[in-house]
Amino acid sequence: MTDVAIRAEGLSKKYHIGRKQDKYKTLRDTIADAFVSPFKKAGKLLRGDASAASKLDETIWALKDISFEIKHGEVVGIIGPNGAGKSTLLKILSRITEPTKGYAEIHGRVGSLLEVGTGFHPELTGRENIYLNGAILGMTRAEIDKKFDEIVAFAEVEKFIDTPVKHYSSGMYLRLAFAVAAHLEPEILIVDEVLAVGDARFQKKCLNKMEDVGKEGRTVIFVSHSMPAIVRLCKKAFMLEDGQVINSGNPIDVVAKYLGSGNGTSAVKEWKDPSRAPGGDVAVLRAVRALTDEGVPTDVFDISQPVRIEMEYDVIKHGHILLPHFAFFNEDGIAIFVTLENDPSWKGSARPIGRYTSSVVIPGNFLSEGKLFVEANIITTDPVACQFTVRDAVIFQVIDGRNTDSARGDWIGHLPGIVRPLLEWKTQIIRN
């Protein structure tokens, strides 16, 4: 009995795009094209466009040679930018569309959730749609009978179960649709981004349900743009870009690489050549680094981990008081905080010429998740002059993994806030 749930070998999918091949043709167009296109080709060639012969049928490869193996019971996340091929891969694994090359082997019954509410008919009641949608998703009537009450309770629509669905609010509609889908029990579950439905409370319910599904030992393939959900639910992750698997492994690492790939900057910025380094007549910046507590440069930090930011600079004129400081910005460009050097041995005293490092440690469980942009500055105080201001000197990510205690607690959904301090709460019963 094999251990593998899904094995893919060289899966590739070609799509035809471009004006020359419309999605559906009329017979008239096809016949007309057959007459006209040789003339069009000849015309282009005469005008010197030698690629005319091949350009008339534009194709793209949505998936290029994808191979992977997923074992039974693994919960796997797939992330990637829009257009990477994630939905195409899911469609192929769900047998909705065929691969152009390669093959996949599936061991077990597959249930696919590519959209919620597929097949819902507005004229039918909630009850009727549960049966219809359940049958469409692959449940037998007996199964639906058994789970009917659970589904209705999950969706919280008991009062409206016999009203035609066209009278439901959009929230009720989505909740009912998700409730049916959530009670699918295939061996292999394929989910495409359908967790973003309903209000925050319902989203939490959905994510908890997904977590339960994973714990029941089913194989799950999960595509999402919500990094917290991926990190929370999945034991393994793939990153897809441009139709290829770029990275795979531990979700935290894959997510970090994905978030970092947009910018190309790293945890360390150095200026080897002093004549090109930013600086004024008193101080010149030589390096800025983001480090772990132990001094290892890294651009990904767990939210509970302290972050050390260090600047290395040359003081080239003695006798001045310096004020090194860092400013931290989030992805929206909002300043989170500024921290000024306050080392008592140097604060307020003039600094001799030499090479210095000034570093600050941001405690764990303070910063919020996401990308942080660090600006390094030094000003002199007499007279007040800015020696340098370097925006985006380093950029690092903060991620909440699953296994540490953070302010997130059990919440999987989105948490707003530019900081996320872990504070101490006290609760007691005051009346019985």
């Binding site: 009995m1 799509y15 999605k23 559906y24 043709k25 009329t26 017979l27 008239r28 096809t30 469609k91 192929i92 694994l93 769900s94 047998r95 909705i96 569309t97 065929e98 691969p99 152009t100 090359k101 390669g102 093959y103 996949a104 082997e105 599936i106 061991h107 077990g108 019954r109 597959v110 696919s112 590519l114 959209e115 597929t118 097949g119 008919h121 004229e123 039918l124 009727e128 049966y131 219809l132 049958a135 469409i136 998703l137 692959g138 037998t140 009537r141 061996e187």
Partner: protein
């Protein structure tokens, strides 16, 4: 412990694809639910409701009786013209409604096709079969008319299930061709009203096939509905002309259409989700 789990291999198919009838049996509950859905939804929020199932053949019969029966004095094989044409209209309506819905079925279920896996053959099959309820109602009216005109059915009514089956299969076969073509060439849905109308007149509904002399009469059976309609009249009303060779031709043509339609459909199936 683990029983033998099914292994499915997903890979590009080339050329002709097998019909995979066993898979359709596995998905029979879905077929049932799709038919049930079509029937439930068909007459929702209408005043006349299921009455519409009767109105279509009945009023066609009235119009034919006035213009062909009375004014043009069309012969009707020795039975009163209204019931002559109505008995033909009942299976015809089953066929033509099934065809109209079936031809467009894939395109109107595009949301299902793009998001869920199931054998796509189920879609045209459910469109055609959902007309059975309407058929039963129209048939009931036919029996009423037979009582009114004092006509008793002959022993040949045992052929009726076969003829009904032939009508359904003919409707399905043509739907398989047209629905698969419609996905790629949307002209088909515009041809449909025109096609069904022509087909109506190419079938001996308003007139008897006895107007034709022998070799032509058998050749006429190439239109599968010819065999069905004449057979219906013969079985129920005892028209003098036993269909014989004509029905054999109709049956053979239907079988050819069915097999070729299924194979064509299955071959095109892999493109549906990408093109619809």
């Amino acid at each position: 412990m683990k029983t033998e789990t099914p292994v499915i291999r997903i890979e590009p198919t080339k050329g002709w694809v097998s019909l995979k009838l066993r898979e359709i049996w596995e998905y029979r509950e879905l077929l049932y639910f799709l038919i049930w859905r079509d029937i439930k939804v068909r007459y929702k929020q209408t005043v006349l409701g299921i009455g519409w199932a009767i109105i279509q053949p009945f009023f066609t019969m009235v119009v034919f009786s006035i213009f062909f029966g009375k004014l043009a004095k069309m012969p009707s094989d020795g039975i009163p013209y209204p019931i002559f044409s109505y008995a033909a209209l009942v299976p015809w309506t089953l066929f033509s409604n099934g065809l109209s819905k079936g031809a467009n079925s894939l395109v109107s279920s595009s949301n299902l096709i793009k998001k869920i896996y199931f054998p796509r053959l189920i879609i045209p099959v459910s469109s055609v079969l959902s007309g059975l309820v309407d058929f039963v109602l129209a048939f009931t009216v036919l029996i009423g008319m037979m009582l009114y005109f004092g006509l008793a059915p002959t022993a040949n009514i045992i052929w009726l299930p076969f003829l009904i089956g032939l009508s359904i299969i003919a409707s399905l076969s043509v739907s398989l061709w047209l629905s698969a073509m419609n996905v790629q060439f949307r002209d088909v849905q515009y041809i449909m009203p025109f096609l069904t109308q022509l087909w109506l007149f190419a079938t001996p509904i308003a007139y008897p096939s006895s107007l034709l002399s022998e070799p032509w009469k058998t050749i006429y059976g190439i239109n599968p509905m010819v065999g069905v309609v004449e057979g219906f009249r013969w079985a129920l009303l005892g028209t003098a002309t036993a269909p014989g060779a004509m029905i054999i031709v109709s049956t053979l043509v239907t079988l050819v259409l069915l097999i070729s339609g299924s194979l064509y459909f299955r071959r095109m199936e892999k493109t549906f989700a990408d093109v619809v």
